[in-house]
C-alpha cells in the first residue's frame, strides 16, 4: 500500500528528472518543479504588468478601483511586515525583498489547489534555496551595517568559547526555515492524497484542499516572510 502511495505521490509531483552531464559532474533537474516555479514566476510578473496599467504616481483625487484595492493590500502587508524591522530605513529598504518572498511562497502554496498542478514548495530544494537567500541577505546586510570586524565579533558573543554554539545556531536558522515550509506543504499534500485515494474520493478532498492549500498555505507564507524579517533583524542588530 505504501509503495502505491509513494508512487502516486511522485506521480502527483511528476518526478521527471533531467540529468545534465557537465565535465564529470552530474546535475539533476526536477522538470516538474522547474515548470511549476516558472508558472508562479510568470503569474507574478504577468499580474504585475497587468495591474501596473491602472496605477498612477502621484495619487489623484479619485484613485481608480485597481489602485484603491492594491493600495489597501500593500498597506496591509506593510503594516504586518514593516513594523517588525528595527529601523524605518531598514524597513523601507527590505520591504520589497520580503514582500516578494511572501508573494512567491503564497502563490506557490496556492498552486496545489489547481488540479494537475503541484506546489513548487513541495520540493525541499526550492524552500532551501529561498531560506539560503534570506540567510545570505541577512549576513550581507549585517556586514554592511556593522562592518566586518563587528560582524565577526558577533560570533564570539557573549564569550569566545561560545563560537561553536553560535555557528551551529546560525546554520540551524536556514535549515529550520526551509524544513518548516517544506514539511507543512508536504504534510498538507500527503493528507489530501491519502484521504482522496484511500478513504473518501468525493466531496471531502476539495474541502481539505481549501483548508490545507489556501488557509495553511497563506499562514505558512506569512510565517516564512515574518521569519525572514526576524532573521534579518537579529543579524543587523547591534
Amino acid at each position: 500500500m505504501f509503495e502505491q502511495l509513494a508512487g502516486l505521490l511522485t506521480h502527483l509531483g511528476e518526478k521527471r528528472i533531467a540529468v545534465l552531464h557537465l565535465g564529470g559532474f552530474e546535475i539533476r533537474f526536477d522538470i516538474m518543479t522547474l515548470i511549476m516555479s516558472w508558472i508562479v514566476i510568470l503569474l507574478l510578473v504577468g499580474l504585475a504588468l497587468l495591474l501596473r496599467k491602472g496605477l498612477k504616481q502621484p495619487v489623484e483625487e479619485k484613485p481608480s478601483r485597481t489602485q484603491a484595492a492594491l493600495d489597501g493590500m500593500i498597506d496591509l502587508l506593510k503594516g504586518q511586515l514593516s513594523d517588525n524591522f528595527a529601523s524605518e530605513r531598514l524597513a523601507a529598504r527590505m520591504f520589497p525583498f520580503v514582500s516578494t518572498l511572501f508573494l512567491y511562497v503564497l502563490l506557490s502554496n496556492w498552486l496545489s489547489v489547481v488540479p494537475y498542478l503541484s506546489s513548487p514548495t513541495q520540493n525541499i530544494n526550492i524552500t532551501f534555496g529561498l531560506a539560503l537567500l534570506v540567510f545570505i541577505m541577512s549576513h550581507v546586510l549585517a556586514v554592511r551595517h556593522k562592518g566586518t570586524r563587528k560582524w565577526l565579533k558577533g560570533f564570539l558573543e557573549p564569550y569566545a568559547f561560545m563560537l561553536p554554539i553560535n555557528l551551529v545556531g546560525e546554520i540551524a536558522k536556514p535549515l529550520s526555515h526551509a524544513f518548516r515550509l517544506f514539511g507543512n506543504v508536504l504534510a498538507g499534500t500527503f493528507l489530501v492524497t491519502v484521504i482522496m485515494v484511500k478513504f473518501v474520493p468525493i466531496a471531502l478532498p476539495p474541502v481539505l484542499n481549501i483548508i490545507f492549500g489556501l488557509f495553511f498555505g497563506a499562514i505558512q507564507a506569512f510565517v516564512f516572510a515574518i521569519l525572514a524579517v526576524a532573521y534579518i533583524n537579529v543579524a543587523v542588530e547591534e
Binding site: 529550520s176 524544513f179 514539511g183 508536504l186 510565517v223
Partner: protein, 91 residues
C-alpha cells in the same frame, strides 16, 4: 512444545520484523512528536488570548507574535513528521 511454537513463528523473517518496526516507529515518532508542539502552541494561543482580552487594542501585534511563536514551536513537530516520512518511504 517449544518446537511447535518455533515452527509457528518460522514464517516470519527478519525483513518482516524490520518492516513492522518501521511502521511502529513511524507511528510512535509522529504521535510522540506531536505532543510537544500541541502543548506549546496551545499555551501560546492561551496567553495571547489573555493579553487580547486585557488589551483589545493590542490585538494585531499579539496575533502576529503569536503566529510567529507558534510557527517556531511547531518546528519540532515538523522534524518528527519528516523523520516519519523518511522511515516510511525512504529507509
Amino acid at each position: 512444545m517449544l518446537q511447535e511454537a518455533g515452527n509457528a513463528v518460522s514464517g516470519i523473517s527478519g525483513a518482516d520484523i524490520a518492516l513492522a518496526a518501521k511502521y511502529v516507529a513511524a507511528g510512535l515518532c509522529m504521535g510522540i512528536g506531536a505532543i510537544g508542539p500541541a502543548i506549546g502552541e496551545g499555551m501560546a494561543a492561551a496567553h495571547a488570548l489573555d493579553g487580547m482580552a486585557r488589551q483589545p487594542e493590542m490585538q494585531g501585534a499579539l496575533l502576529r507574535t503569536m503566529v510567529l511563536g507558534q510557527a517556531i514551536s511547531e518546528t519540532t513537530g515538523i522534524y518528527s513528521l519528516l523523520i516519519a516520512i523518511v522511515l516510511l518511504f525512504v529507509v
